[in-house]
Symmetry: C2
Subunit: 219 residues, 2 copies
Amino acid sequence: MQKAAGAGGSKAGGGSKAGGGRRQATKAKLYEAAVTLIAEQGFSATTVDEIAERAGVAKGTVYYNFASKAELFEELLRYGVGLLTESLQRAADDTARGGGTKVAALDAMIRAGLDFIATYPSFTQLYVAELWRTGRAWQSTLLVVRQQAVAVVEEVLREGVAAGELSEEIDIPLTAAALVGMVLVAALDWQAFQPERSIDDVHAALSRLLQGRVGGSRV
Amino acid sequence: MQKAAGAGGSKAGGGSKAGGGRRQATKAKLYEAAVTLIAEQGFSATTVDEIAERAGVAKGTVYYNFASKAELFEELLRYGVGLLTESLQRAADDTARGGGTKVAALDAMIRAGLDFIATYPSFTQLYVAELWRTGRAWQSTLLVVRQQAVAVVEEVLREGVAAGELSEEIDIPLTAAALVGMVLVAALDWQAFQPERSIDDVHAALSRLLQGRVGGSRV
DNA sequence: GTTTTTGCACTGACCAGTCAGTTCAAAAAC
DNA sequence: GTTTTTGAACTGACTGGTCAGTGCAAAAAC
């Protein structure tokens, strides 16, 4: 009797049998199907049947791989923000290694953020839609995951201030949040309402804002 | 039932037929109930029964006043963005009347945006969550309503460029979107994750970013 | 007397999650 | 090397519950 299913726990293939890879592949298909549907319709409006159908698996398979619809979603969030954070960090590190300034690093991170959003627009949309919602089950997951991403920006700001490259007066947590927001919203808006613009145009506009080349006069 | 403090007089004469006062009051109660619930749970997860209960009216009343749940939501969107646009416009006009610069006007608009979000956090949350979703019934309503708000910012940017106060190189639509995004996200983040900060702190951080006082060096 | 609200029973669709059963490749037994 | 067993992965019909929207008579407000 192989009723072991359920949340059965971290049996997780462990042994590296051929079966392990298969399961991962199924999960990947489910992530991919879920991210688009949830971005378009929202979590509640997306049914498990739809996700299964788009992924090309049976509904039971969803429940074989995830304890619930909500858990599938939470794992998807962790997975996606992991990708983003990695990409931001790499941009910052590469700039540092190349001897660039901290402002250059921020600029590279803006570019990395735009690239990420262009590659995974659905994920970004879904993330923004859920981030500030209070009282949901996955609230704590989101908090952790947001902090991961914002922390990368905060660190570069902090280093910039230490290096005397950025004003000491800046409020690091608030500025980091504002920068992230600027990129997120500008990119989503670009995709949704001004798709004819190139990624370079968007990058240039944001870069100019970052470097204070919008206001011609300084008081 | 607690009166929705400041949620809008709604007695507004205008086009209202005779006897519209009572009905308007019921609608206002429903808006208020719906906005909080939908911000917290999303549109699909919020039931009409919940909305009616929180508003303190019978379910039948909801359907007497609105054709459907979706229509209630659409009217709510129009109503809310109307308030925001009005507030931004007033900030811009007041600054102009006082002989302020365009940068000062943008600064005043940032403040007005923050005030609005602090007053109606749920509405903002819900707006951001829905704005970039594609393929929903109210997509077209949102498009109109977004354009209304962004247009106010674009106009001030355009005037600023014309007056030689802002760089001619700025990309007006993209910059306007980025500014709006910066304010929205920074404000939501403030409310959700850094509520101990004062509105003045947030305003100062955004103002600094707008005026290019973040990067100390200019290339 | 007209408009608005109430209260409540009802329906039909829809949906998260379950479970008994199937598949198949690799391991064990022969 | 052939047969048998094992069990992880998967399937899809089914269940129990939920919810948008309806219908209507009576009460309340205007």
